[in-house]
Amino acid sequence: MTVTVRLFASYAESLGKSEVEMSIRDGATVADVVRSITASSGTSRLPPSPLVAVNCVYATPETLLANGDEVAIIPPVAGG
């Protein structure tokens, strides 16, 4: 199955992209996707356990993913 990973601000800049289509195995979690993104980019700018939202709702590292999910890795916000 496939999920869309979205990256923003400093994370998008460090990884050189803002959106990644990623194939994952059944039973994959948020933590799996974060590890995979960090490994593939070879960057250390992502914290080990960044904030993640799945379909616009904050998730935990253990949250299970489903096909078509949008997984957003959320840097510290700074609006206003």
């Binding site: 979205r6 400093s10 616009c56 957003a72 959320i74 510290p76 916000v77 700074a78 609006g79």
Partner: protein, 142 residues
């Protein structure tokens, strides 16, 4: 009347105040955040705002609903502009209306503070020395 929007154009405060007003409300409180010329002692030339738009709008609308529950505001609007902004440009406007002034001003503070700390929006500040920096002001809730 509750609305939360990410916009890519100038924010029109008078329009927003009109939109949030109603005959039952004697008090409208407004906050406008603008790009200022210095931040942490550094000379700013401008700010690029980006957002996770869909989530930011959802979060901001949630904040307005919380304010309605806590302070019984009748109208509430948040507009946050994204894109490249110059000194003096308004990046955010919050408008709330209530029959009475105390609640309107309490709600204004709540909505502004929560939006700053929770909306999925980021800023890249540009400085006069040519450097730039992602500002990491808040920490969103888990």
């Amino acid at each position: 009347m509750m609305r939360a929007s990410i916009v890519r154009r100038a924010i029109d405060i008078a329009e927003l105040a009109k939109e949030a007003a109603s005959e039952s409300c004697g008090a409208t409180a407004v906050f406008v955040g603008t790009v200022r010329s210095t931040n942490d002692g550094k000379e700013v030339t401008g700010i690029d705002y980006t957002a996770y738009e869909q989530m930011a709008e959802k979060e901001m609308l949630g904040i307005l609903r919380e304010a309605a529950a806590r302070y019984e505001i009748v109208g509430g609007i948040i507009e946050h502009r994204i894109g490249t902004l110059e000194i003096g440009d308004a990046s955010i406007a919050v408008v709330v209306s209530h029959p009475h002034r105390g609640n309107a001003m309490d709600a204004l503070r709540y909505v502004v503070d929560e939006t700053k700390s929770r909306a999925t929006i980021w800023k890249l500040e540009h400085y006069t020395d040519g450097s730039r920096e992602w500002v990491g002001a808040g920490t969103p809730p888990p």
